[in-house]
């Protein structure tokens, strides 16, 4: 439950908004970031439905790359188990 996922903000209705990652859209809370700090198109780390920090696109991609690698290794473990 402590996993933070990078998502891209596609709609803002402060203190809420909508963010998207890998084609999945989700309502998110923006209350933990100052109003006006987040813009449409920004990448944020979302934790239990709330944006906790902004990140640049490169970092968002890198974090996803890390997840993909772990998911792949977990799948391998599952198949092996």
């Amino acid at each position: 439950m402590c996993v933070g996922v990078p998502m891209q903000v596609v709609e803002i209705n402060y203190p809420s908004g909508v963010a998207e990652a890998r084609g999945v859209k989700r309502n998110i809370g923006l209350q933990l970031l100052p109003e006006g700090d987040v813009n449409i198109g920004d990448h944020v780390i979302v934790h239990v439905g709330f944006a906790i920090e902004k990140v640049d696109e490169k970092m968002a991609d890198e974090i996803w790359k890390g997840f993909d690698e772990i998911f792949r290794l977990m799948d391998e473990e599952d198949e092996g188990a």
Binding site: M1, C2, V3, G4, P15, S16, N27, G29, Q31, L32, L33, P34, I45, H47, V48, G49, F50, I52, E53, V55, D56, K58, M59, E62, I63, K65, G66, F67, E69, I70, L73, M74, E77, D78, A81
Partner: protein, 346 residues
């Protein structure tokens, strides 16, 4: 040679040759990466990467879970909480097995929606976790919650438990890998106490294997140079001061309290409860919850595992009576629990 291989080579050259070195991570997601990437097997023999208290579900007091089960049995109540909490075993069973009216949520937002859709019921949000989950709960309070929504706070503070660990000579920690997203909230400065007061190199790292390796290299560099600093290899996400808006909102609604950590005991100023101004929202007060005496689970050494004093494989029940499908102790339940992770990777 790729970057990770280079970092591993670096680790081998930096590690002191004449003694053991113990580096502890305090985040379930870090342990996840370390275990699934097979990183441990690539480390020098005398370098131990030990998992610490990075699993919020594991340390949530049995008493709170039993109270949650009892509350869910009331006809006027719907208990809502994160999925992992439903499966945590207690002397009276788990919420999923023994509870009655309960729902799993993935965000505090959903608690609001459920409260609005069931205005005739009392919705109790059993809110657990470290700083990264406390801030979102504080955020819904700031945004305004329906009158029929109550909070059962079982939040815990990461720096508080780390201070217990450094004072325990039995564990003998040489370096900390500080949790990435907790640090995004509290700031990398929150860990300065460990390098400055206790002389323990502390590095904030992210969740990718390469970033973690970079963190380990930096701890070993400090050990070699005989210094202790708090550094940050995840600075694209974590600021020195952290997320000050999140901190402000958390402080507005919560105050520190002396709380029990399951399998470990009471630690002063290590938990968060709602401030008295908000007691009308505090399930503990509104429903007059009484503390239930914690009972040890026979054979389970989860407390030792959380404190980095034992690996899961030391437990006699590991992979025998205790499995992720049928967990005997709390450390086998969630993907952040060391026993769960070790089950899948050892």
């Amino acid at each position: 040679m790729n970057k990770s291989e280079n970092l591993i080579k670096h680790i081998h050259s930096l590690v002191p040759k004449d003694r053991k070195v113990k580096i502890m991570n305090v985040c379930g997601s870090h342990e996840h990466t370390i275990a699934f990437s097979g990183m441990r097997s690539l480390m020098p023999q005398n370098l131990e990467l030990i998992p610490g208290p990075g699993c919020p579900v594991c340390v949530c007091p049995e008493s709170d879970i039993i109270n949650a089960i009892k509350l869910s049995k009331r006809d006027d109540v719907i208990l809502v909480t994160y999925g992992d909490m439903l499966r945590v075993p207690t002397q009276q069973g788990s919420i999923r097995a023994e509870g009655k009216n309960f729902r799993m949520i993935t965000s505090p937002f959903e608690a609001i929606a459920i409260a609005k859709n069931h205005s005739d019921k009392k919705i109790i949000f059993f809110s657990i976790g470290f700083e990264t989950t406390t801030a979102p709960t504080a955020a819904i309070l700031e945004m305004g919650i329906p009158d029929n929504l109550y909070i059962l706070s079982s939040h815990r503070l990461t720096p508080a438990i780390m201070e217990i660990l450094v004072k325990d000579a039995d564990i003998g920690i040489d370096g900390f890998i500080a949790p990435g997203h907790v640090s995004a909230i509290v700031g990398s400065n929150a860990w300065n106490v460990f390098s400055e007061k206790y002389g323990i190199p502390t590095v904030v790292a992210g969740f990718e294997a390469e970033n973690l390796l970079l963190g380990i290299v930096d701890i070993l560099r400090q050990i070699k140079e005989g210094i202790a600093e708090t550094t940050n290899v995840y600075s694209n996400v974590v600021r020195p001061e952290g997320n000050t808006q999140a901190q402000r909102i958390m402080h507005k609604y919560f105050e520190v309290s002396n709380v029990n950590w399951r399998g470990i005991g009471y630690i002063p100023d290590s938990g968060l409860e709602l401030k008295s101004e908000y007691s009308a929202r505090d399930a503990r007060k509104v429903f007059e919850l009484k503390e239930v005496k914690e009972e040890k689970i026979p054979g389970c050494i989860c407390g030792e595992v959380i404190l980095g004093k034992a690996y899961p494989s030391k437990c006699k029940l590991f992979k025998k009576a205790c499995t992720p499908q049928s967990p005997t102790g709390p450390c086998m339940v969630s993907q952040e629990g060391s026993c769960n992770i070790w089950y899948k990777t050892n």
